[in-house]
C-alpha cells in the first residue's frame, strides 16, 4: 500500500471514529505529498461520513458519534476549503431546511444539515420556528433542489400543509421537491399533506436528496457547499 492509500484509509477510519487531530494531521500530510484536495474529500472524508450515516441508520451508531465524526471532518474542511474554492467547483445540490413554525426542536434537523453538507450539498438552514413566508422567500431566493420541513410535535405537523400551500400559492410548487420529517411524522402523513417524500432520519434524508438531484460528476462538487459546511457544522455543534 502506498503512503497515499494509507492516508486515505487513515482519513476514513479516523473520521469514522471522530478523531479530529489525526484527521487534520493526515490531511496536511496528504497535501504535502501532493494529493488532490478533491481526492481527499471525495475518496476519504465523504465516504467516511456516509458510512457514519449508514451505521446510524442501522442503530449501530449513536447521536454523539455522528457529531464527533462531523467535527473531525470539519477540521479537514478548514484546510481543504480554500484549495477547493480555487477550482470553482459547484455543490451537489441546494437544500433549504427548517423546523416549522411553532416548533423549536432542532436536533434531527441539525443532523440533517450535517449529513447533507457532508454529502456536498449547499444547505440553507432557516433554523427553528420558521414561518411559511420565510420558507417561500428562501425557495425564491436560493432556488433549491429540495426544501425540507421538520416538525417534532403532532401539533406543529399541520404546518407542513400550510407551508406547501404557501409554496403552491407563490407559484413555486413545480420548481422544488418537498421533503418532510420529524419524530411523529409518517409516510402516510407525508402523502396526506402533499409532500413529495418522507425520511425517517438524517441519513435517509441525505440519501434521498442525492437521488433527487441525481448522480453528478465529482468535478462539479465542492467549493461553496464546503465553505458553508465549515461554518454550519461549526455552528451546529456549538448550538448542540
Amino acid at each position: 500500500m502506498s503512503r497515499e492509500e494509507e492516508i486515505r484509509a487513515g482519513l476514513f477510519d479516523h473520521t469514522l471514529n471522530g478523531h479530529a487531530p489525526e484527521v487534520k494531521a493526515l490531511t496536511e500530510e496528504g497535501l504535502k505529498l501532493g494529493m488532490d484536495p478533491m481526492d481527499i474529500l471525495f475518496k476519504a472524508l465523504i465516504p467516511s461520513l456516509e458510512e457514519v450515516g449508514r451505521r446510524f441508520e442501522k442503530g449501530d451508531f449513536f447521536v454523539p458519534e455522528m457529531l464527533i465524526a462531523a467535527r473531525a471532518m470539519q477540521g479537514a474542511l478548514v484546510i481543504l476549503r480554500p484549495l477547493i474554492a480555487e477550482t470553482g467547483a459547484k455543490p451537489v445540490g441546494r437544500y433549504v431546511i427548517g423546523t416549522v413554525k411553532g416548533d423549536i426542536h432542532d436536533i434531527g434537523k441539525n443532523l440533517c444539515v450535517i449529513m447533507l453538507e457532508g454529502a456536498g450539498f449547499e444547505v440553507f438552514d432557516l433554523g427553528v420556528n420558521t414561518p411559511p413566508e420565510k420558507f417561500v422567500a428562501a425557495v425564491q431566493e436560493h432556488q433549491p433542489d429540495v426544501v425540507g420541513f421538520s416538525a417534532f410535535l403532532t401539533t406543529t405537523m399541520p404546518m407542513f400543509k400550510v407551508n406547501i400551500e404557501a409554496i403552491t400559492k407563490a407559484g413555486l410548487r413545480d420548481k422544488v421537491h418537498i421533503a418532510v420529517g420529524g419524530a411523529p411524522v409518517t409516510e402516510e402523513y407525508a402523502k396526506h399533506v402533499g409532500a413529495d417524500s418522507y425520511a425517517p432520519d438524517a441519513s435517509m434524508a441525505t440519501r434521498m436528496a442525492k437521488e433527487i438531484v441525481g448522480d453528478r460528476s465529482e468535478g462539479s462538487q465542492g467549493a461553496k457547499a464546503l465553505e458553508q459546511a465549515v461554518m454550519k457544522i461549526d455552528e451546529t455543534l456549538r448550538k448542540g
Partner: protein, 287 residues
C-alpha cells in the same frame, strides 16, 4: 409550597418536603404506532392496560395525550381520559397543545387536573391561563418563549418567573404553577444536563415553585437510556425537581426514584424501599 391535584377520589400533593411524584408518560400515541392505531379506531384496551400497569408500577399521576395527526383531538382526548378514569383513580395530567382539546378535557374532568403545558409565549399564556383559572386546575409552565430555549440558567429562571407572574395576573395561585426547567439530551451537547440542573437550583432558590420535566429527554440518541435516565433523576431531585413525567414501568427509573427519596430523607426507616424490594422478590419467585 404544595401543589394539590385531585381525581374524583384521590389526592396527590407535590412538594419538596414529600416523596417524589411520578407522572406516568405512557399514554401518548407519539412514537407508539400500535397505540396510535388503536386510539384512532376508538379502541381503549391498551390505554386502560397502560393506566393500570403504570399505577401498579408506582405512578402517582397519569399523563394523557391524544395527539394523533389529522384527528378530532378534543373528542379523542375526552374519550381517552374517560377510559383512563374507568380503570384508575390517579389524578390526570392533561397533555395537549391544542386549545380546544384542553378546553374539552377540562370540562369533563372530575377533580383538579394538571394542564401540560403553557410556555412563556404571550399568545399561549393569554389563551391557556384563563382556561386553567376557570377550571381551578394547575399548569405546567415551560421555561421557554418565542425565542426558543435559552442555554443560560438565569435566563430560563427569568422566563419561568414571567409565567408565574402572568398566572398571578389571571388569579392562579403560585403553587398551581409547576415549572418545567426543560431537560434536553446530553447526546447533542454535553453541557445540557448541567444547565438543566443549575436552572432547577435557581428556580428552587429564587421562586420555590414545584418543578417537573420530561426526564426521559436527557438520554435521547443514546444507548441504554434507562441507566442514564435513572442517574439523572436523583441528581435532579436534589436540585429541586419534585415530580417528573417519566416511565415507571422501567425498573431502573422506578428504583432510582425510590432510592432518591430514601437518600433525601423522604422514606422514613426505608419502609417504601424495603416494600418495593419485597414486592420485586415476590414477583420474581412466582415467575
Amino acid at each position: 409550597m404544595e401543589t394539590v391535584l385531585r381525581s374524583r377520589t384521590r389526592e396527590v400533593v407535590i412538594s419538596i418536603d414529600r416523596p417524589f411524584v411520578i407522572i406516568g408518560e405512557r399514554i401518548n400515541p407519539t412514537g407508539r404506532k400500535v397505540l396510535a392505531a388503536e386510539m384512532k379506531a376508538g379502541r381503549m384496551d391498551r390505554v386502560k392496560a397502560d393506566a393500570i400497569a403504570q399505577g401498579a408500577a408506582g405512578a402517582h399521576m397519569l399523563d394523557v395525550n391524544a395527539g394523533i395527526p389529522a384527528i378530532d383531538e378534543p373528542a379523542l382526548l375526552v374519550a381517552t381520559i374517560k377510559a383512563v378514569s374507568d380503570v384508575s383513580d390517579l389524578p390526570i395530567c392533561i397533555d395537549s397543545s391544542v386549545m380546544e382539546a384542553l378546553e374539552a378535557a377540562l370540562a369533563v374532568y372530575e377533580g383538579k387536573a394538571l394542564v401540560n403545558s403553557v410556555t412563556a409565549e404571550d399568545e399561549r399564556m393569554d389563551r391557556i391561563l384563563p382556561l386553567v383559572k376557570k377550571h381551578g386546575a394547575a399548569v405546567i409552565g415551560m421555561a421557554n418563549d418565542e425565542t426558543g430555549i435559552s442555554m443560560v440558567p438565569e435566563e430560563r429562571l427569568a422566563i419561568a418567573r414571567r409565567i408565574v407572574d402572568r398566572a398571578a395576573d389571571y388569579g392562579i395561585p403560585r403553587e398551581d404553577v409547576i415549572i418545567d426547567p426543560i431537560a434536553m439530551t446530553v447526546a447533542a451537547d454535553p453541557t445540557c444536563g448541567l444547565i438543566t440542573l443549575e436552572t432547577m437550583r435557581l428556580i428552587r432558590n429564587e421562586l420555590g415553585n414545584n418543578m417537573t420535566c420530561g426526564a426521559s429527554n436527557v438520554s435521547f440518541g443514546l444507548p441504554d437510556r434507562a441507566t442514564v435516565n435513572a442517574a439523572f433523576l436523583p441528581l435532579a431531585m436534589h436540585a429541586g425537581l419534585t415530580c417528573a413525567i417519566t416511565n415507571p414501568l422501567v425498573p431502573e427509573v422506578r428504583r432510582a426514584v425510590l432510592a432518591g427519596d430514601l437518600l433525601l430523607g423522604h422514606d422514613e426507616y426505608a419502609m417504601r424501599w424495603i416494600a418495593s424490594y419485597r414486592a420485586e422478590q415476590a414477583a420474581a419467585a412466582t415467575k
